[in-house]
Symmetry: C2
Subunit: 145 residues, 2 copies
């Protein structure tokens, strides 16, 4: 497994151990992780801190020059909100653990010039499968369903 | 002025008085304001709390049924991030103070079924004009420029 996706999975597992939704994310710049995060819906009662958002928030306020050198890793295909955030900051590449559980607007991201790499990780899928079986209502809330 | 847009402008002015970026937002459901917020880049050192995001975060965790009855008011045309968040939660209508200072992906929102209403408010424009003249670098950071 890609070491950065492994770090995102570690974040997802940290979220699960806190009673949260097991989706994790890391932001990588110049070969180094500069932000880490995981979904905070349960932990912070948050409507906006999906894993990617928590990761970007934890990375702090960066310049446009910095964002444009970044790759965003996420264990699950980014939703409309998280995709939009990548577009806002001009993050050029997103690496996705899996998109079977949920698939965000990947074609739209590509049409706006974002490079996507799908790893199709069985570990990421298993995390979500077990979580959704246990707490389907929480998962639906997270994706506005 | 529409009373809900006035409440969003009040939020923008509150942000300005805190040294922040003067963009405000309210979330309205069944004729009642259920969330208020303003840009928190300066105040909370936040990369993700644009006014609309702060408003939705302050509204708390809502059900899909609730979001689908909401109208999101914002003093400035929503960026890719905030537009994506409206899409995630299926918010059916966005009322925009102005879109001269900045124009987000309005056509894309419409193409995804969101109704937009532009108020073309001189008060909203003046707030941003004065702010950007005073602190252009902060504004650029906020829109990833």
């Amino acid at each position: 497994m890609d070491k950065f996706m492994q770090a995102a999975i570690d974040e997802a597992r940290a979220g699960l151990s806190e009673g949260g939704i097991p989706i994790g994310s890391v932001l990588v710049c110049d070969g180094r992780i500069i932000g880490r995060g995981h979904n905070q819906r349960v932990q912070k009662m948050s409507a906006v801190l999906h894993a990617e958002m928590d990761c970007l928030e934890n990375a702090g306020r960066l310049s446009a020059v910095e964002y444009k050198k970044c790759t965003l890793y996420t264990t699950l295909s980014p939703c409309d909100m998280c995709s939009g955030t990548a577009l806002l900051y001009g993050i050029p590449k997103v690496v996705i653990g899996e998109n079977e559980t949920f698939k965000g607007p990947e074609d739209y991201l590509r049409s706006r010039g974002v490079e996507l790499l799908l790893l199709d990780s069985e570990e990421c899928k298993a995390l979500m499968r077990e979580f959704i079986r246990a707490k389907p209502e929480l998962w639906n809330e997270d994706i506005g369903a």
